[in-house]
Amino acid sequence: METLSFEFPAGQPPKGRALVGCVGSGDLEVLLEPGTAGTLNIQVQTSVNGAEQRWQHLFQRLFQEQTPPALNIQIHDFGATPGVVRLRLEQGFEELGHD
Amino acid sequence: MSGLQWFNALSAGAAPVAGLPASLKVADGVLGEQAVRFIAVVPDAANRFPRARQGEVGLLEGWGLAKAVDEAIASGDQRPIIAIVDVPSQAYGRREEALGIHQALAGAADSYARARLAGHPVIALLVGKAMSGAFLAHGYQANRLIALRDPGVMVHAMGKASAARVTLRSVEELEALAASVPPMAYDIDSYASLGLLWETLTVSQIEQPTADDLARVSDCLVQAIKDIQNSGVRDLRGRLGAVNRAASSHVRELLREQW
């Protein structure tokens, strides 16, 4: 198990918070909460060691398409593939938009 | 065999209770000046259920315990119930699962819990193994848990070999982890650190109690009965409070605040 931290430039914090996923095999849990304007903080606790670069690239690709809202994101990962991670994050952002 | 030895020693001269499976030893005796019911699960080589011949708690034992405790409740005198615990495991078998061993064990837990709620002081005396489902059915509903301090006395959810396999570790890795994670450990001192025991006692001969051993244990049981009667508390809150079980208290506090 490894704990990783990431930071990205962001816009304004959203009003609401969201939870998606579950710490089940091949899945992950994502908690999204309003952060400080301008900053997106991500903390990842993952069962897969040595994957920091992969997380970094995945987040970079995701956030270069569109500036994310200012959030504190906590991820509990149980071996999710990049595709599943991306899907869960998109779900999380969408749920934030609903509130 | 500690269970049978301690049952015999504590219940010497007591009236045995009939009408129960041979794997149960039940007797109405006296502790101090108080009438009490002693209950033990013991090996029965002739048990009709082959997977329950070595002291395991199986179908007959679960329902039999329920009956033995129900009879004590029916007496209406709130007599203390002393569960002498030396149970290596629940019975693992096809007949057991098919015939609902979970329901038989629920019967036993139900009766012990109702006895406690009805004001019977219920005490579990751990003189050997107190494993998993077997302990849940026979002893874990007691107001007070008392353990003898001996390497043969242990409380656990699963035997070492099985636990290692299920958690994908070697027995050595499991033991190393257990040394640093108190709830995973197999020794009685680690268990005591969880705050679940009311008392631990040292005896000189756990397999064949001496007169001194018997006197010490009897005295402790009498104290426990008084403690329960004086407290007036019929639930299990007395088990909370240890540092190694702090989350159990914290969760309850938060639930109460948010209820």
């Binding site: - | 009766s111 998993s132 489902g133 159990s248």
Partner: protein, 280 residues
């Protein structure tokens, strides 16, 4: 077929969604929600990734107007195993529900059981929490029904199968399995001939929801459909306490077991005949 198409699977829902699906619209209120991050103090130090709610959802609300607390176990997190925090959430909620009743508030409880039992990484604290859950069910059950639901797909095993046996009513689906010992543990302890853990039809024939219902070890057998499960739970809640609690029938079960020829290995039909007699 139209019936099938109109169904909404309950089994496929996570613990939180299940609790939401059962409670009256707008009445759902979660206690110790995941954002409070009351997580297992034992998993991380063993290198196991925790979950923010420790795999247990406690929600208060109403079900067809009746006050209920739901405890839902997330079967996808660590096999629904109970550790210190998740176990204390369930026990504590049941304890408060009993206290409610002593104070004149008729809170009922519904337990959504998808669990392998004790979480071995927290072994003795899981076991202790399950003993607390047993104690609290027996206490609450004096006032109001405690309803157990085993929907699947994990099933209900270990110490929590005893909790299921203590419930006032038990509701199962075809996907449900209910048994004390998991198939692999039995095979390991007793051998392949005794119990083949890979033979799924065999396991379901002995411990599946349909067999448990037909043997009188469950009270309702329901399709995997949110509306039907909700309806059945509601009916059981309205019904109040059962005339006889299944776990209080020691004399009945001892008499049945005395009639059994225990020598041959057992068949599912034998259990149905033995326990149901005239009803089968």
């Amino acid at each position: 077929m139209t019936d099938l198409l109109n169904r909404h699977s309950f089994v496929e829902l996570g613990a939180r969604q299940r609790a939401k699906a059962l409670l009256d619209a707008g009445s759902y209120r979660e206690l110790i929600d995941p954002f409070q991050r009351v997580m297992s103090p034992w998993l991380s130090r063993q290198g196991v990734v925790p979950q923010a709610d420790d795999g247990v959802v406690i929600a208060k609300g109403t079900l067809d107007g009746l006050p209920v607390v739901i405890a839902a176990i997330e079967g996808n997190f660590q096999g629904g195993s109970l550790g210190e925090v998740g176990g204390a959430k369930i026990a504590g909620a049941l304890e408060l529900a009993a206290e409610d009743n002593r104070n004149g508030i008729p809170t009922r409880a519904v337990l959504l059981l998808e669990t392998g039992g004790v979480r071995l990484q927290e072994a003795n604290l899981g076991l202790a929490a399950i003993a607390d859950i047993h104690a609290a069910i027996v206490d609450l059950r004096q006032y109001q029904p405690v309803i157990g639901v085993v929907a699947g797909s994990v099933g209900c095993f270990g110490g929590m199968s005893i909790a299921a046996g203590l419930c006032s009513y038990l509701l199962v689906t075809r996907e449900a399995r209910l048994g004390l010992n998991g198939p692999q543990v039995i095979e390991q302890e007793a051998g392949l001939e005794e119990y083949d853990s890979r033979d799924r039809p065999f396991i379901w024939s002995l411990t599946g929801g349909e067999q448990r219902f037909n043997s009188g070890l469950a009270d309702r057998y329901v399709a995997d459909d949110v509306a039907q499960i909700r309806q059945q739970i509601s009916e059981l809640l309205q019904q109040g306490l059962p005339a006889t609690q299944r776990s209080r029938q020691a004399d009945y079960y001892l008499a049945r077991l005395a009639e059994l020829d225990a020598a041959p290995q057992i068949e599912p039909a034998t259990v149905r005949d033995l326990y149901q007699g005239e009803r089968s």
